[in-house]
């Protein structure tokens, strides 16, 4: 048992990733727009985004969620959708805020990690929603089950830029 735990810790600590794309949108359903920089506000969310706590204008605002202040998505999933399902999903289409490469998002639930100069804590895996299929007209719901990204809360805020490092604490 101890061996398994230490192996897991080792794997979790061995990755290093990078921010490839940043997106936000001010209101539910509106297309995501790409930005070179986002401002992360501790305990609240992303400045100007639909899920900023205290200013929610997102699709799910009937059930505010502290753990969805910022959302991440894997670049590798976009590649897998293209490779395995022939679906071209663009970084602005998955509707998460941060597209990262080299970060094992599904392994990070419950952990804290560095996102540029900010620190975030992963609260739960994102679930796909039919809403995305409706908007895009692409059959992505099933292929995105269990790899639809990660919801996080912001422990320490700061500026997040494309190209910033993502790494374990």
């Amino acid at each position: 048992m101890d061996g398994i735990v230490s192996e897991k810790t080792q794997i979790a600590a061995s990755w290093r990733g990078v921010v490839r794309f940043l997106h936000k949108t001010p209101r539910a359903f509106l297309p995501m727009r790409e930005f070179p920089v986002l401002q992360l506000i501790a305990g609240r969310g992303i400045e100007g985004d639909r899920y900023l706590i205290g200013h929610e204008t997102g699709f799910y605002s009937h059930k505010p969620e502290e753990g969805r202040q910022i959302t991440l998505f894997e670049m590798e999933t976009l590649e897998a959708l293209r490779r395995d399902h022939g679906i071209e999903l663009l970084p602005e289409e998955h509707r998460r805020n941060v597209t990262v490469e080299g970060v094992p998002l599904n392994h990070l639930v419950g952990r804290r990690f560095r996102l540029g100069e900010a620190i975030v804590e992963a609260t739960r895996l994102s679930t796909p929603c039919r809403h995305i299929e409706e908007i895009l007209g692409k059959a992505v719901f099933d292929p995105l089950i269990n790899r639809s990204g990660l919801n996080c809360k912001i422990i320490a805020g700061g500026t997040l830029r494309v190209g910033d490092a993502v790494r374990p604490l």
Binding site: T25, P26, R27, A28, F29, L30, P31, R33, E56, T57, G58, F59, Y60, S61, H62, K63, P64, T127, P128, C129, R130, H131, E133, E134, I135, F141, I145
Partner: protein, 316 residues
Amino acid sequence: MAKPIKTVSTVVSRVEDLGNETKRFTLTDQDGWELPPFKPGAHLDVHLQPGLVRTYSLCNEPEDNTRYVIAVKRERDGRGGSNFLHDRVRVGDSFGVSLPRGGIALNPDEMNVFVAGGIGVTPFISAIRHLERRRRTNYRLHWTSRGWPVLSDMISPAIEAGRVRLYDTAMQPKPAIAELVQEFAGSGFAACCGPEPMLRDFEGAVEGWPDERKHIEMFTPPKRVAQSDVPPYELVLRESKKVATVVPEVGLLGTLEALGIDVAVSCGGGICGACRTRWIEGPPIHRDRVLSPAERQSELIVCVGDCAGPKLVLDL
């Protein structure tokens, strides 16, 4: 608990009186952000006020992505939507709209022939602007109207180039639709939007055409995409004491929403469990991927659920 956001928030940025009892409304995001995309000839629901939702075709083209443009002819004896828009709506008013849906599946290579009656031209204005923007001229519009038609300003270059044929029915007889589409019977695409007699004539003219080469646009609201393949059944909500019939075109979730029941839907695809609801009488049809067999004995994921019998009673 805050209400879920189910519509796109828009602001009326322009109202134009085009004459002939027709007004054109431009809807934009409050900050001019891009709006959700749409296909040429798509339509959307405008939520004018509680209980007053109307569907209109978009006149503008998909590339014009920061506004939705609709044109509304006043129907004095209609159900109230056009009168509300004409009498009450001003620049600066806010409305929720649905995501755009539908559209015309244009043939990229063959001829596209459009037949429109009066204000029924709106989806074709969108399609023509889309084609013209791409420098495509493989279309013809036959457009009947009493007097000079409104909205012609949106396709002026197409009219000047002779790709639009106008028929003033105050001065000349209505065209024979069968003759208009006949030459494209072997190839090409035909679409029609207009009053019922025109639609009937068109349906007759293209009866033998394959479905993918013809399109009929009704003035009446389109049915929702069917989520259900079971026969209609009675839905009884025990707590709120409401009863309705669930038909395949609307589905269980659509029926609950129509009854004003605020179901906490999240994924909409039966995997997150947000809309789990206790059922009392059924048996329900489970299509979710979240409930265990034991849970299914008393609970139902209503976003994908249905009923296998004549009556479903929910604890709502």
